[in-house]
Symmetry: C2
Subunit: 213 residues, 2 copies
Amino acid sequence: LSPTERSTPHRLRDRTRSDRVELHALLDDAVLAHLSVVRDGAPFTVPTTFGRDGDTLYLHGSTGARSLRLADGEQVCLNVTHLDGLVYGRSVFHHSANYRSAVIHAQARLVTDPAEREHGLRVLVEHVTPGSWDHARRPNRKEMAATAVIAIDTFEAAVRVRTGPPGDEPEDVEAGTAWAGVVPVTTVYGAPEPCPLLPAGFATPPHVAHRSA
Amino acid sequence: LSPTERSTPHRLRDRTRSDRVELHALLDDAVLAHLSVVRDGAPFTVPTTFGRDGDTLYLHGSTGARSLRLADGEQVCLNVTHLDGLVYGRSVFHHSANYRSAVIHAQARLVTDPAEREHGLRVLVEHVTPGSWDHARRPNRKEMAATAVIAIDTFEAAVRVRTGPPGDEPEDVEAGTAWAGVVPVTTVYGAPEPCPLLPAGFATPPHVAHRSA
């Protein structure tokens, strides 16, 4: 898993998939993305949550923020990566990582239509915390005014995947002196931690309890 | 956790820490970073593994790669983020995420000195898969020639952290109609999966077995 090998589909053909079903599954598995823009000629990257509706991703931000206010039509790169395993080769050279990664190039669209702004926020909230849109208090006018909603089209996306054991050299396999294999890496949701200000005995609702199941 | 709030330390002073100890701990907890560069005026981001030695991070790549060959002195942005929890507010507006994130701006340095190249690779390998440098076969001349080693100085780094329960509005707390709290998110290393080509009965060495402990 090196910056160069990740970006050379022509060299590592087997790691490149264009199937949109696979892209959508990878995105739906994740709540965290890395959003990159260019500022003063330099790259600038921040982590962000997102939601997906078909081929559109929705992000949100604060309208009052100074450092990263996305302009309508601004070129962005969105990357979503799952680290699935650490690959131990018989040689240092064949150490690697199992992963699923999507890189999306797009022009950010600042959503202005009130109905789509609410829709985008709902998609985002239901992606990250399913069930919260109906359970929690919805945004009021003041909160909506303080929220920027950004849409990103996933049309220009590349998916790269590595799975399986290391691709060791035959002579290292034969030598049989080193262990080889994969240590799987997974993301786990733990038991809900209630807010200290909740009334005693307030039951954890199913949409939260199910998250950890 | 929105792209704008993450980048406005002046607005969210309590989420900004400059302590290098905290930066180092955050980096040492992670094996995955997102590396961004500018290509043809557009941002371009790839995931990558890394290692840390003091204030220097080491990455590696393939010298044969075409799409992302870092130039010596090229401006990069490196982001390392831990998602620690999903924050459920009593209002949709106060839903958030607990996280630890570092953003590093630097000029990439292409390491050419043979001793530092080996040192950098060792740091990277021992960061991602501790114990592998001594256990696995080390890189031979051909493998070293195929490997680019990149150093990134962490001097210009910002750390942002969010912890704890949601920051709900007093009137929503008083209403007491919605659950609020945090669903913790953790990364877990699973039981090692031996390579199918390993001889039967090959014991999993301690440096691998300990990874899942």
